[in-house]
């Protein structure tokens, strides 16, 4: 009996919890928020790579020529991310 009662109560609670999004409306505008999050994470990763390369150069592991080449590539990739971020943030509210 304890098992059956607990089964019914827990089932009702779970059903209530999982049905909340199904009763809500208006999800479309959040697509851009998530893309902004993803691009921001990608931007930070790219900045980390730029700093890594600079540190490797200062520590003598990367020659000047190699560092300038790598740095240029990484900065170009970062700029592309920033462009897309600026475009998105210009469209989202706030």
């Amino acid at each position: 009996m304890e098992y059956v009662v607990a089964l019914l109560v827990l089932a009702a609670l779970v059903a209530l919890a999982v049905s909340v999004p199904l009763r809500r409306r208006g999800q479309a505008e959040r697509l851009e928020e998530t893309r902004v999050e993803e691009l921001t994470a990608a931007k930070e990763a790219k900045y980390r790579e730029i700093r890594d390369a600079e540190l490797d150069h200062r520590m003598g592991k990367l020659s000047e020529r190699d560092w300038r080449m790598v740095d240029g590539e990484l900065r170009g990739e970062a700029v592309e991310i920033l462009r897309e971020l600026d475009a998105l943030e210009g469209r989202t509210p706030g």
Partner: protein, 719 residues
Amino acid sequence: MAGVGSACLTIGLFTALYAVGASLFGARTGRREWVDSGRRAVYCLAALCVGAFAILESAFLRSDFSYALVAEGSSTSTPTFYKVTAVWATQDGSLLLWATLLALFAGAVLFLTRRTLRDIAPYATAVLGAVAAFFLLLMVGWENPFDTLAVVPSEGAGLNPLLRHPAMMIHPPMLYTGYVGFSIPFAFAIGALMTRRTGADWIRATRRFTLVAWTFLGTGILLGALWSYSELGWGGYWAWDPVENASLMPWLVGTAFLHSIMVQEKRGMLKVWNVSLICATFTLALLGTFLVRSGILDSIHAFGASTIGVQFLVFIGCVIALSAVLVISRLPYLRSEARLDSLLSREAFFLLNNLVLVALALVILWGTFFPLISEAITGTEQTVGPPWFDRLATPLAIVLVLLAWVGPVLAWRRVTPAALVRVLLAPLAATAVVLAALLALTDARDSVPSLIMFCFVAFLLSVVGQEFWRGARARRTMTGESWPRALARLTGRNRRRYGGYLVHVGIGVLFLGVAASSAFLQQRDVRLSPGQSFSVGDYDVEYVRPTARLGGDRGGTGAPIAFGAVMRVKNGDRTFTLRPSRNYYATADPAKGAISRFFEGEATSEVDMRWGLRRDFWLAVRPDLVSLQKPIARADREFSDSPSDVQAIVISTLTQLYREKPPPATFRAIVSPLVAWIWIGGAIVLLGALVAAWPSPEARLRRVRSLYKARLGRELTRA
């Protein structure tokens, strides 16, 4: 409350299945609300599993023997700490622990990624839900931890005495956290393959979970080794036991994965390799659980007697099949975005390091399963022992330490030979000095593999030390900071790199301890009477007198009887006392007499040792109870129906008899150099992993800002 616990598992199973269905439906139809509903189902699953676990823990703490599990694995005399941890000493309880940890991890990662990876996350939710459903199905269908007994016993069987050690009881949750943690990157890898979004996004989102899983699994492995060293009576910490190997294999492949994902993040390379590696890591984690829980390691015939072995095999087969189909079908989307620029590059050596790690895992896999395969084919089990593993694993381990120092000195894409030579000069000089010192001042030349390992470790430590020094110097040049501040800021702003260097240092130190303690260990087994003595290494050991104790054992394990010895140990002008003993636990076997059941149950060694940074002195005793057999048999005949307080007096008299007329006892003494550095190395690895995993201040600030921005966006839309 057993009914409530059981209901939690049943509803949990259906909730997990709902999470699978809702997430897949939402992903296929583009209906976001179903994806969110599936994610909420995982949150509910976490709550249900935690609730079930709490109910079971409560039953153990209350010694509620109406629960079959509590009656089987605990007793009223079990110390409280071991009551708490006894939950996962049983198969049913360990399955519940697995499911609970998985649900919590899944809930955490899905909460953290609820605004990102919109395409991948639903498939990851489905995978995590499916894995959770499997474990819940095992419990609901076959191994329910909430089964109750029709006839409730007044006392339980008690916890297996071998498990009554702190390290051993923390070891399973650590291992399971590691196994479960690897399910997160696996699930997201499957999601990435399903959606063909095979860039680095899924790696970035799950990297910390991977690192946490790897750290916990490694800690669990080390705790198991520590338990073996300090609890079992053989004096070693690693025996290439199949159960040990089962946990090491996913850790090795997981280590390879942690390195190679950096290559994909930086260069967009090794995509096929990475998804294959994480699928292999998760499969090995499941295999590890299967090996321990299926009974197959005792014998292939014991496997048939297990209630869940076949189910595990089927599930592992499905995981392998799904992974293989997805990887093969998505090959066009897994092409590298760049090529290897130079063999003298970090990515080239990471790949080499990966190959060595995977080779080591394959060697261990073969050695672990060979006895089972030979038994299945020939009918007789052919064992593969430690010498076979040592012969193959030692050279691979040496190569690994070699590669561990190469990685830090190289840069991404390429390093010129001239720059490499410049960077290696100082470490090479330091290593030459160390080599000369080892040859002149120690016996290291007696073991060439160990000497090579010592030199490689010295080189590794020099290289990493140089990295910290050069990095801090470069920062001081830019900022003018003091040395300590420059070092702290350098590490803080480059946590992944310098945390990783610390991990390498820890691994090197650990291998140093392993090499020294394996090659230069000295051991003696002797049989002594009180007053006699022996020597081992430069230690002189005297058996002073026997000991016999009722209750109150040092380790707090609840052993009713302990026989041991007081030993005086002299080393040069230092003298110390050790008190090894052997604990005896009563058996519930009705065939044993009322008195003899206290002496003929399980017995465990309580080792005593003197720890030291240079070496450990380890001592174990095995008392000989033959002289007590006749008095015990007589006591069984005369006092079998006596009250328990009278029986206690009889047992006390027998222990006194042992003290007064002790027969010779067998002792094992071991002098182990540098063992402590294994545990110290492990602690350094843990520290390095924490540094590498700790979020940067910028990342924390970004999360706070994005929460406010998201909230603003929602509220403006509703207005």
